[in-house]
């Protein structure tokens, strides 16, 4: 088995890392960095994690336990960070309702619940490894993220939110979460399916690409009607 990644995987990885930087650069250039601080910090940390993973890969090799340790732990931390970024999008949408306190409380309870559920699943298995818990937590958080994004999209349609940038950020996050949740599920259904290894990093590039576009293309005060975006005309 190869102890390094192929050219195609390396190219996708490099592209993803560049796009993560591009998001922060676009947000700073268009004065949206502070408005969507958590999203931008997530992208910046993703960039740092990419660099860290590359260091681990070049020092220890793809099959090493050290690389796997770095990979899965950083993935769990990033997923939690993305979950928090999603919660800040909730705060943007419910800004005028003054329900900030309740959204934060619900987010913490949900995160703790997901962690406990993941712990419970790992506890029942034969290999009670911490790495299994981290993997399980990431997988469950992707699905929770998908459900939360779906609810947020429903709220956007119901409240007739019109901020184009916010709509684009939420929709691209929805595509990202659902694509990753589907990929994780596919991996569980067919553990030997090789193509999943390539699909996941490609999906990973889509989120920074869409966010960079949203920051670059749309001014923060641009508006659009959500009535056009629902699958069922409203």
């Amino acid at each position: 088995m190869p102890d390094s990644i192929g050219y195609a995987q390396a190219a996708i990885w490099f592209l993803g890392t560049i796009l993560e930087v591009a998001v922060v650069v676009c947000a700073v250039t268009r004065h949206s960095f502070r408005r969507y601080l958590c999203l931008n910090l997530y992208m910046f940390f993703s960039f740092l994690v990419s660099v860290g993973r590359y260091q681990a890969l070049s020092h220890f090799g793809l099959r090493s336990s050290e690389y796997k340790f770095v990979y899965y732990y950083s993935d769990a931390v990033l997923t939690i960070f993305l979950y928090l970024a999603l919660i800040t999008l909730y705060l943007h949408v419910f800004d005028e309702m003054k329900v900030e306190k309740y959204v934060r409380l619900a987010a913490v309870i949900l995160l703790a619940g997901t962690a406990l559920f993941s712990y419970g699943v790992v506890q029942q298995s034969q290999h009670r490894m911490l790495t299994s818990f981290v993997y399980e937590l990431s997988q469950n958080l992707y699905f929770v993220g998908l459900v939360l994004t779906y609810l947020l999209w429903g709220a956007i349609l119901k409240l007739r939110e019109t901020r184009t940038q916010l709509i684009q950020l939420v929709l691209s996050l929805g595509v990202y979460f659902s694509a990753f949740a589907a990929t994780f599920a596919l991996e569980n259904m067919f553990p030997k399916l090789e193509s999943v290894t390539y699909i996941a990093p490609v999906f990973g590039c889509l989120l920074p690409l869409a966010w960079a576009y949203a920051f670059w293309r749309f001014p923060h005060d641009a508006r659009m009607s959500t009535a056009r975006l629902a699958m069922v005309p409203r």
Binding site: W153, T164, L171, V175, F177, S178, A181, A185, Y213
Partner: protein
């Protein structure tokens, strides 16, 4: 459990992708086409789904703007999805046929607006080169 999660995620992915593509189209649908692009593409004021392939061919002739690449691919994929729905599901559910045709027409209009921008971009580049 994994199968259920996969089915739910795939359904959500489809819905988010359609809404995202429509949000990209919505951002350019209000922009009127220049007389030049209307002449070149043969699109009078409203486009039809059949125009899409022709406009894409014209787009390939113009220098690409890097910031357009991603969304044009997304709309291309969306158009492919609409074609698939139109040739499969829409035959069973006729109400879907008019919806897919309307969406395909908007994809064509989006491509025509992109062509308009590319032509303007090429013209600017030529003007800058001649100044140098």
């Amino acid at each position: 459990m994994a199968t259920l999660i996969f089915l739910l995620s795939a359904a959500a992915l489809l819905q988010f992708f359609i809404s995202y593509s429509r949000s990209l189209i919505a951002a350019s649908i209000k922009q009127p086409l220049s007389a030049e692009v209307r002449d070149v593409t043969g699109i009078p004021s409203t486009a039809a789904g059949e125009d899409f392939a022709r406009v894409i061919q014209l787009l390939d002739l113009c220098p690409e703007r890097p910031e357009e690449r991603g969304r044009l691919r997304a709309i291309n994929a969306y158009f492919g999805l609409l074609n698939f729905v139109s040739s499969t599901l829409a035959r069973v559910i006729p109400a879907l046929m008019s919806w897919t045709e309307m969406e395909r027409a908007q994809c064509a209009y989006f491509a025509a607006v992109t062509l308009d921008r590319r032509i303007a971009f090429s013209r600017d580049m030529l003007a800058q080169q001649s100044e140098v």
